[in-house]
Symmetry: C2
């Protein structure tokens, strides 16, 4: 089943202890689709400026990403410049230039409107709400959010939460939104506002999925070389939603596997700059990484 | 099979966001034995001053802890005073008075010397080495360590590592010891120095067990109320070693289950002050918590 994502398509300049990358593909919709396309066809809605190297999106198109909803506006593309030091869990933002993204108003092409799975990347919650008026009863809608929306668009964000099935956010955002330090309490607080499912991402410390009274946890995969953590959260969301769209159902068993696919995609994303590694994965490598996750947490029943 | 622990027996005064406790039972050997005795008989070697409320150890004795190796020395007992704020992963030490513990020289009673499982709590590595000269070929020796030993007793600590089978330490200590920020690299560095098995404890973020080329991970159990994190690491070690001593073997399957029992014990320890909760557990509650761990990480194979 097809999967629609609305989010940013940007150019990132990143410095890590292991190297530098300038003006490489970035943005939530880019990482999300580069990840999800390994599992299911993806439809992207976003905006870039007239300076965007759209040719560089071709490898994504070849892997099943449809950019019919990518608007090209007059002006500069969204650019982010950041740095990581040894604690790769913490990004230091050096520059953000929103460019054409500051006037983004998502227009969902007619052929995308019946997508059964919809992911609303971390854009303004008013835009996320607007997308919901343009789609036809999706089977599952998930949204991401960010500290700016929690601080400055709280009323709209709470309205959005009433209308989505699932939320993905990181531990800091969950605490900020709920004003609960304890993540279990934070998740319950969020579920009371509408979503049946809350995923709290903890970066290198893994991710929790909360649904009703059950909790599922997936560790981050222990890698010797975490090269660049940028986009790991969006790659996680892409793997999660991509897996659900691929199997087409949202049972507890599928949701758990979806979190593992999300974690696997997050672990690939950080192995190289930008979306490089996500574009190299084949089905065998993905299955092998999922198997590694199983061995990482598996324990047998009592003898 | 019996399990010998050598470590501190102290009095803790603790303040958390949820309450205060004054002069309650603490110390690594105390938490370790309160945890392990739920699984196997435990033999304690340590020292207390003549002011120690030894009567309060009776509930431990009733649960199978043998204090024949607990020396009573003239002077004050080891006291620790600490505080936790909202981030319960970080203890703030307000006062430490070593008292009689500063002259501790472990003497292993004759009847303890053939214990097949030995745990060396985080005392001076010279004393940990000395214990090894007093025991008869144990099946498995594990040691803990601490930042002071890593900084100031490095040579002795490296000698100790050559002689133990397993090490438990927290993430910060693993990084400090190995000078590797990456925990997988840190574990490999440590294994090169001798131990076949390294457990890196990450507090609320769970624990890794490294053995040869395999990695096992257990999350910390998500609790709505983490009341007092003091002793969680020692309770973890007690559950880990207690499970191994109970089943008497050290196969990969047993080791994985042992980490889960350790995590379960750590999760009980933090539910109340001191060793209170560890003394209430029965076999049913323990089995139920282990089942919760299974559900927390379980995912089914592809349909």
């Amino acid at each position: 089943m097809s999967l629609l994502v609305v989010g940013s398509v940007a150019l990132d300049s990143v410095e890590t202890p292991f190297g530098k990358a300038d003006e490489v593909l970035g943005g939530s919709a880019t990482f999300f689709s580069a990840s999800a396309c390994n599992l299911t066809p993806v439809q992207v809605v976003g905006v870039v400026g007239d300076d965007y190297p759209v040719d560089k999106l071709k490898p994504l198109e070849k892997r099943g990403v449809d950019f019919a909803g990518l608007e090209r506006a007059k002006g500069r593309s969204f650019r982010w410049r950041g740095r990581y030091r040894h604690d790769l869990n913490v990004a230091e933002t050096l520059e953000t230039h929103l460019g054409v993204f500051s006037n983004f108003s998502p227009k969902i092409p007619a052929q995308f409107r019946n997508a059964p799975f919809v992911f609303l990347g971390n854009i303004d919650p008013r835009l996320q709400l607007d997308v919901l008026t343009q789609v036809d009863k999706p089977k599952l809608v998930a949204c991401d959010t960010m500290n700016f929306s929690i601080e400055s668009r709280r009323t709209d964000l709470l309205k959005l939460l009433e209308r989505v099935d699932a939320v993905t956010l990181n531990d800091g955002e969950a605490r900020q939104l709920s004003e609960c330090y304890n993540l279990l309490k934070a998740a319950k607080w969020i579920m009371k506002r509408g979503p049946k499912l809350v995923i709290i991402k903890k970066g290198e410390h893994g991710a929790f999925m909360f649904t009703g009274d059950t909790v599922f946890f997936a560790p981050a995969f222990p890698l010797e070389e975490v090269f660049d953590p940028t986009g790991a959260g969006d790659a996680f969301a892409g793997g999660f939603m991509g897996y659900l769209a691929k199997c087409g159902d949202v049972t507890d068993a599928s949701l758990r596997r979806a979190v593992i696919y999300g974690s696997a995609m997050g672990s690939f994303a950080v192995e190289k700059f930008s979306i490089e590694r996500l574009l190299e994965i084949d089905a065998k490598q993905l299955a092998s990484r999922v198997g590694d996750f199983r061995r990482l947490v598996a324990f047998e029943d009592e003898l």
